[in-house]
Symmetry: C2
Subunit: 447 residues, 2 copies
């Protein structure tokens, strides 16, 4: 395989991405708290030569736990357990810059990169759910702008911490008794509006130097942040045109920051419903949609766009005119996505809810393995994606079907790897390993 390679992540959501997945007869809700379930999925993704498994997160409990498997297992402990159960696959976990301490999070991600020998990725979020604030002593969720300002400073801090040990700081000379060369371990002395952190980190530099930085913001602030920091961006798009425009925008912005646009991968989410015929695939989708509970979806829609529809209104056109003014949150990409979708396709409320039920706004594709592979290939070849975050509607079958039926087609078409060529996530993604900023500074000073 030469030239560009497609990248694929498995986005694992406890029961599957469809909100009613856990009610589907072939899902396994009784296993969602058991490590063996996640090990099985990660190994299946590794056997299919996926780049990574990905776990979302938020530090609060969703109200709709009454209706769905919406608890959260802390991603970095779960991924560390998966690190010990797999060999090659990347391990991307979400953690919040709004509700974490940079020194602690830097240590945990360094720990994951060490135990996995270089397979750690960090999905950087500022946290969407406002309720998290109350678990951290705050009266209110900081504004969107404040969250991104803190996120930027957070990245300055943790990047410096991960760089604070140069690669060759550990000497380990038994004879002289020198374990580390402290001239290659640096305080970071960061003092800023949100953080004062002296450093250095208390862990030697990790196999990848830093975890791979992933980001999923699509607001103006989110895109600017991604252009500065992200190695890969996850996106939610409902149409090819939108995806293509986003793809071009991300690359343009990365170039404007002086970065190589090929080092910012764009990986939209896609939720595949597979069948041996298109009709069979659509029947699967319908079957899952019919298991949804109006109370759940009405609540989700309310949170996303501030409109509370009643059950009696479900089959009427979605009342766009009631979309609430969300203040600074109007910038939120999920908000825009839902509004635009309802507007463009003139959906009833129930139709809109089903579109969201599938994968909370991500693209749904129902078809034969060839049809799904065609979509993947088109987006990949025509400048809309470097790969995809695969979001199986239910688990584990919704993923193993993709792995067994779609992946071989992508391999046969020369789009996707048959074997891993590297050992780290950075290598899977085709990204260079960053040099420590302190090593670079020391070298340029000594010239």
């Amino acid at each position: 395989m030469t030239g560009r390679t497609l990248h694929l992540n498995l986005f694992v959501y406890p029961g599957g991405h469809h909100e009613a997945a856990w009610r589907y007869h072939a899902s396994a809700p009784e296993r969602v708290l058991d490590l063996s379930y996640y090990v099985e999925l990660a190994r299946a993704a590794e056997a299919a030569r996926f780049d990574a498994v990905f776990l979302a997160d938020g530090p609060s409990l969703a109200d709709d736990i009454a209706y769905a498997t919406r608890f959260r297992l802390e991603p970095l402990t779960l991924l560390s357990a998966l690190a010990a159960s797999t060999e090659r696959i990347g391990l991307v976990g979400t953690a919040s810059t709004t509700y974490s301490e940079p020194y602690n999070l830097a240590r945990q991600l360094a720990g994951l990169d060490h135990v996995s020998r270089g397979r750690a990725g960090w999905n950087i979020v500022t946290t969407g759910a406002p309720g998290a604030a109350h678990n951290f002593g705050l009266d209110a969720h900081p504004t969107h702008a404040d969250r991104y300002a803190r996120a930027d400073e957070f990245l300055d801090v943790v990047t410096a911490l991960w760089d604070s040990w140069e690669d060759d700081a550990v000497v380990g000379d038994r004879t002289t008794g020198q374990y580390a060369d402290t001239s290659r371990i640096h305080r970071i002395d960061h003092v800023g509006p949100s953080f004062s952190v002296r450093g250095p980190l208390n862990t030697p530099r990790t196999p990848q130097g830093r975890p791979v930085y992933v980001q999923a913001g699509t607001s103006e602030d989110g895109r600017a942040f991604a252009a500065r920091w992200a190695d890969a961006v996850f996106a939610a798009h409902q149409s090819f045109d939108e995806a293509q425009a986003y793809y071009a925008d991300v690359r343009r912005r990365a170039a404007a920051e002086g970065r190589d646009p090929d080092h910012v991968l764009v990986l939209p989410g896609i939720s595949p419903y597979l069948g041996s015929t298109e009709a069979e695939a659509k029947a699967l989708q319908r079957e899952l949609d019919e298991l949804t509970q109006p109370a759940y979806s009405i609540d989700l829609l309310h949170r996303l766009v501030g409109v509370l529809v009643t059950e009696a209104e479900l089959d009427e056109p979605f009342p766009l005119e009631r979309v609430a003014d969300r203040g600074d949150e109007a910038e939120s990409s999920r908000f825009r996505l839902v509004r635009d979708l309802a507007e463009r396709e003139r959906l009833t409320s129930r139709q809109l809810l089903h579109r969201l039920a599938g994968a909370r706004g991500h693209l749904l594709v129902a078809g034969t393995p060839e049809q799904v592979a065609d979509l993947v290939e088109t987006w990949f070849r025509r400048g809309a994606a470097d790969g995809f975050n695969i979001m199986p509607p239910y688990l584990t079958g919704g993923f193993t079907d993709f792995a067994e039926q779609v992946v071989p087609i992508l391999q046969a078409r020369g789009l996707f790897r048959r074997e891993y060529t590297g050992t780290t996530l950075r290598e899977h993604y085709g990204l260079p390993r960053p040099a420590s900023q302190f090593a670079a500074r020391r070298l340029s000073a000594s010239r």
Copy 2:
């Protein structure tokens, strides 16, 4: 085996507990960043039917990294990886109440308890090293009293979070579509001087209900804290009499808190040097001591008791009169331990340094396997210990020797298990599983 059972933990320190361990020819400093090293140790401890592996921690880098393997791998990620690599052994990790957010730490420990199916333990520390403050935006380390006050409130918060889901909150009824019974998931609504946390936790109740609480403070505040919260206490003693007095004190205090004293295990640290003769064991100890570096030990002593001796003074009696007044830190147990040791045994500075080099103040025993087993048995039978934290001077041989030579003697004497009888750490330690405080309240309200 009937009656009381001895409990044994393996306290893993990267190169081994002797400060010069990494220089010893049979140690493996080149492996200390590699997961396989820790997996090998945890599996060896499990094969020997140990109760747990234990990892210490502190969120800052020790200055003496120049001389020894004094970095820190973040314990909860490392233990999660070990959870996936072992079946039965308990996994006890240290985390600080001074430098963590309770919601985040509660999630990580819940994650560890889930992925290990009930083997998580938490060594609760307020953090000894003052330098940590600078990594968390503070000008100075909070005082000893403030740290323990925060620790108490921290325990109120995380205990309530772990209790916030009752055991039967997850219903998972596919037919009705009810995933969780929200009347069994509780906000905690904690508002206190250090924390305001609404809850609930976003993770279902864990196999053990809560992780096992371990604590190692021996100051007045530390003992009071242990009496309230600890399921097990780790201690550092230099003599049997001291250990016996401490043992009685812990039990008395637990009883005064209305607790069953048998549910607070006392597990002192012990660093065993083994040989086929006593002389051989002492030669091993001498060999390691001779690898120590005065600069390292002088620095350690300075940090512990505030006395900076010069290399020229090393063979003179330790200058007790120069022991500095440490203000509130005078309460620190490690400080008292060092001062008392120097006073009681009238050591030279070099002798004192060697005593500390072995295991930073913990008991050193050099002898044959029978001699070490005798000491273990005496302390266990004569009311000085319920078991031990085994601190091998070097790794991995310093541990495998203990497992192969001492453990069989303890088993033959009927002191130690030959097989695990339970699957959780709580069961290994003979502790009951706690009920959720919210379940208890709901039940008593409905009576």
